[in-house]
């Protein structure tokens, strides 16, 4: 399976940003075990990077590799839908927390 890389932008250390990061990690562990990388960027600490990457809202996850760079905005608590919109290939087994696509 190809290696997937994601960059998540959050705004500060809020409950919202923590939840989004946890959901992304759980989603990747479930669908892409052992073949993903996650980078978390605080848009308030690195506004230039956020502007350069045209981040208009957080939490947002951007699939940086492989392209295209799909983006999903929200806390990713609907992990199955988020995985679908991030273009992650479906794998066997139940979706996390019993959700289905």
């Amino acid at each position: 399976m190809a290696n997937y890389s994601f960059r998540m932008y959050v705004a500060g250390h809020t409950r919202r940003s923590q939840a989004a990061e946890e959901n992304l990690r759980a989603l990747c562990d479930f669908y892409l075990p052992g073949c993903h990388e996650i980078e978390v960027v605080d848009a308030t600490e690195q506004p230039d990077l956020a502007e350069e990457e045209r981040v208009l809202a957080t939490p947002i996850v951007i699939r940086t590799s492989p392209l295209p760079g799909y983006r999903v905005i929200g806390d990713l608590s609907d992990r199955a839908k988020a995985a679908f919109l991030l273009g992650i290939p479906e794998v066997d087994g139940p979706a996390p927390e019993g959700q289905t696509l």
Partner: protein, 332 residues
Amino acid sequence: MGGPHSRDAGVMAALADGIIAVDEAGLIRICNPAAEELLGRAADDLIGTPFGYPVVNGESTEIDLVLPGGRTRVVEMRATTATVLGEPLYVAALRDVTIRHEAEQELEAELERHSMVIAVVAHEVRNPLTGIGMLVDMLREPEEHFTDQERADVLDQIADRTTRLQTLVKKLLTVAKIDAQAVRVAMEPVTVLEVILERLAEFADRPNVNVFCDPHIRVLSDRSELSEMLINYLENAFRYGAPPFEIHVAKRAGDVEIRVCDHGPGVPEAFRPSLFERFSRESRSRRETKGSGLGLWIVRSLARANGGDAYFEPRDQGGACFCVRLPRGDCR
């Protein structure tokens, strides 16, 4: 923008929520003026750029919009899909919750203030009322025979508690007036020494106070409010401080500084930052003994309404100085 876009944008402009519709590639196809406003960016700067697919689990979720310059704004996002002229679109409806959050915080603070007022009133009113009730019962007791002196002493105690209640009610009315922003300041040049002497005359059996004040110094202030500020400072000094008591009045640049000082134990450093807050922790702890925790807050509120300020200064040689600064009334 093309035909269908301008038509849809026109419809969306009528909505209060910011609307952003992205196509299957995640690029912004439609945004309404409310969305421009929320994002701090013009539609021309937004259309065709990547936004992302909005995903909401449940009815809505909160997200942070990243504004130009890196500032953020919290909005509530709802997500839906729509097919416009055969093209599937992901639609994010954004509602500014900053105002709602602020209103909620204000409401919480207001409720807390109200419950504090009730707690203070209950405590401060109950004690003297209970005392008055007991003293009256004592006088009514048919078996008791009082001398004229004993009867006079009991009546004095009743009068003392009644005065305390009247003072509390007056303070609460001032607080209500300040809260309702109904303080109408009638600024006039006021001779400070006159007001000091008037107020000192009001305190029965008060300790001696040394006044250091040029008789010609005047402030620009509402006379009754200057009186109230002084009364609160003096009550505070007599209640918590120790003699000798002093009032110093001096000109400072365009202002006049009035300092009410005592040589008591002073104020613990930890309590100083919150001294002038309403029902501050210091005030609350004092409530166990006496005091409503309103006096210093009233002084600061009135001082600021009169174009000045109120503050605390520790004394090197012990004790406390409570100061009020007001505009000079003799400036030409």
